[in-house]
């Protein structure tokens, strides 16, 4: 029997699941290797128990926890798919302001109708076996991780900084073009796609192990960024980490 693979989403834009669909354009063979049993975005059939469950999205309300735990029980391997699930992603920006203000700003006097709590990555709720970083995930990396998981080996996710990858691509450094970038503390693996397209890395793949955040902040400050701007750079995707600390 082919291994059964499932996809679930919580608070997300579904861009990572769509990236999975797009990765099939060039890797249709994947459908021969696995059986997809849950993919609400693209299917009406529903199945049970999974060799691999991919979770997209952050956990943003208490009632999500039970559902996630149930999926955990039924999944041999649980994978965080994308920045929302992996590090909280943009959803966690709201953690920087008092929750009550956030709800009131959007829903007014009806704020109480809509449950929410501080956004968190799925690892804050259940044990996570592997992650695919990025907002969105990288198609080729997704394929590599699936192949590794099916063979029972550790997924090949780099833990060196983006600058390494960026230099290999022979990009002109953003700092030399008058810009700024989080490449020095961000996990490589996306091909330094943002610097390649002229924009500083925003840190969507999360921090490398033992990042030197202080020195990153002083580099940004030396570039002329106000403390508020430095904070903004560090919190586009890193809000959960920072608001937790």
């Amino acid at each position: 029997m082919k291994p059964q693979v499932a996809f679930f989403d919580f608070t997300s834009c579904e861009g990572c699941q769509l990236t999975v669909v797009d990765s099939l354009q060039t890797h249709l063979d994947l459908l021969d290797m696995v059986e997809i049993v849950q993919f609400r975005e693209a299917m009406s059939e529903r199945g049970e128990d999974y060799a691999v469950a991919f979770i997209e999205g952050s956990i943003t309300r208490e009632s999500d926890e039970a559902r996630l735990k149930e999926i955990r029980e039924r999944a041999a391997v649980l994978v965080a798919l994308g920045a929302c699930a992996h590090i909280g992603g943009v959803n966690a920006i709201k953690n920087l302001a008092p929750l009550h203000d956030v709800r009131k700003y959007v829903y007014g006097e009806r704020a109480e109708w809509f449950a929410t709590y501080a956004a968190r990555p799925i690892s804050a709720v259940v044990k996570v076996d592997a992650f695919i970083p990025g907002c969105p995930i990288d198609r080729e990396e997704f394929i590599r991780v699936v192949n590794a998981l099916l063979r029972g080996i550790k997924p090949p996710i780099p833990d060196y900084p983006m600058c390494v990858e960026c230099k290999l691509k022979e990009n002109v450094c953003l700092f030399d073009k008058g810009g700024d970038c989080l490449g020095a503390i961000t996990r490589a693996g996306c091909g330094a796609i943002c610097p390649t397209y002229g924009d500083g890395c925003e840190g969507c793949r999360g921090l490398i192990p033992n990042p030197n955040r202080d020195s990153m902040q002083s580099v940004l400050a030396a570039r002329g960024l106000t403390p508020q701007d430095v904070m903004a750079r560090m919190t586009m995707f890193g809000s959960y980490e920072i608001s937790k600390a």
């Binding site: 354009q25 009406s44 309300r61 959007v106």
Partner: protein, 430 residues
């Protein structure tokens, strides 16, 4: 015939996001008919407050993975209006091109992968690949072209990188545009085959008059900017959007509802078709004729047919833009620098699912003071419910299964992007 019916479709599949359909009928009388939105709220407007204006388009593109270019564009237009940024012709052309790409990408996903399985009586695109392999391969081919187009301009489709206030941080080469053009020419055959396939499918027959609203421009089928225009008559500046949308909360939905002159109005491909038919490319008009639709078309299931018409229009539109870009060449441009003066502005676009508004107030420090986004699906929810209330009594005697399928197909026809609709607007307090 007395009929009891209780339908509770938990998490409709094959729509973006999380929605439930609830229908209750007793003795042939419809008691309850709702589309519940149970998606978790995401609070994007609140996320933007206090952030530098430069981040807004990158944050808001994360509202929706399918309409990422649309959100980025509406966001940039709002910022550009707020800060008084003028755009070059090259920037306009490149934005038009990436917009055609996203329209094509989204519509092919919706019509082939999310709608076609219903017509073939299968649960998803995966078994569809067995019964209609060529169709699925065609869909993947067109989708890849659309995605590659977006990537050439924006770096990637889902969450474009290079689109920025006043222009682009990276420009494509003329060679890349030429290569795209060649593939777009080949895609004409795929468009013809798409029409041939869909015109033979059993489109549900149902009609209900409603108000259709879309942006319109004097000489083109509007996608970016324009005046808000209604089939009930009238035209408004985008800054008056609140008089049209009248957002209000309903308890069964974490997405706000809207209404204008009637109890509900519709936005999206069918609304654009009805409002702007005259400006469609001649090939797109011919496609409409083959699919058996003309304005004003009041069958909401034909929203998917209007999407096919727009796919043809987008392929032709993209070819025209490529020709212009190739003829004029691509030149580096000076990036916009902030003047130190804030302001307020509204940006509006026709994203695949309908009119999208972003409304920002930016302070003199370059930080966002207030933000409001009104997304298409929120505008359509009241209209979907009105359709459901009209449709169910007509088909109640067909039994639970058929009613369920008809309702699921109805909701899917609107291509609701529920994850976007749950993020909501700023309510002003006094």
């Amino acid at each position: 015939m007395a009929q009891n019916l209780h339908i509770d479709i938990h998490h409709i599949t094959r729509v973006e996001g999380h929605g439930n359909i609830v229908v209750n009928a007793k003795n042939g009388v419809l008691e309850e008919c709702r589309l519940d939105i149970v998606e978790t709220p995401r609070f994007f407007e609140a996320l933007l407050r206090g952030r530098p204006y430069t981040e807004a388009s990158h944050i808001t593109s994360r509202i929706c993975g399918i309409c990422a270019v649309g959100h980025a564009t509406a966001s940039l237009r709002a910022t550009e209006h707020a800060l008084g940024v003028a755009l070059s012709e090259q920037t306009r052309l490149l934005r038009d091109l990436i917009f055609f790409g996203e329209m094509l990408d989204s519509h092919v996903l919706h019509t082939y992968m999310l709608i076609a399985p219903d017509f073939f009586g299968v649960g998803s695109v995966i078994p569809l690949a067995q019964v209609a392999a060529n169709a699925v391969l065609r869909a993947l081919r067109v989708k890849k072209l659309a995605g590659d187009l977006c990537a050439v301009i924006g770096g990637r489709h889902t969450h474009p990188i290079a689109m920025t206030v006043g222009g682009f941080t990276h420009l494509p080469t003329v060679e890349e545009i030429k290569a795209l053009r060649e593939r777009l020419i080949l895609a004409r055959k795929d468009m013809d085959d798409t029409i041939t396939l869909f015109k033979t499918l059993p489109w549900p027959r149902f009609k209900r008059e409603t108000e259709y609203i879309a942006l319109s421009k004097p000489n083109e089928y509007a996608f970016i900017d324009g005046a808000i225009t209604s089939t009930d008559g009238g035209s408004w500046d985008v800054t008056d959007y609140k008089t049209i949308t009248n957002e209000h909360l309903v308890q069964h939905s974490s997405s706000k509802h809207t209404k204008h002159k009637r109890e509900a109005y519709m936005v999206g491909a069918l609304a654009r078709f009805n409002v702007n038919y005259n400006f469609l490319h001649p090939k797109a008009k011919a496609a409409a004729q083959e699919l058996g639709m003309k304005p004003v078309c009041t069958n909401p299931y034909f929203n998917s047919a209007a999407q096919i018409v727009e796919m043809v229009h987008s392929v032709e539109g993209a070819i025209t833009v490529c020709d212009e870009l190739i003829a004029r060449g691509i030149k580096p441009e000076k990036p916009y620098t902030f003047s130190g003066k804030g302001g307020a502005g509204v940006g509006a676009c026709e994203v695949p699912r309908g009119t999208l508004y972003h409304d920002y107030e930016i302070g003199d420090d370059g930080r966002i003071v207030n933000a409001n986004c009104i997304i298409p699906t929120g505008q359509n929810l009241a209209n979907i419910e009105a359709d459901m209330r009209a449709l169910v009594p007509q088909i109640l005697d067909q039994g639970q299964d058929k009613v369920t399928l008809a309702l699921e197909m109805l909701v899917r026809a609107y291509d609701p992007c529920i994850s976007c609709s749950v993020h909501f607007l700023s309510v002003k307090f006094v």
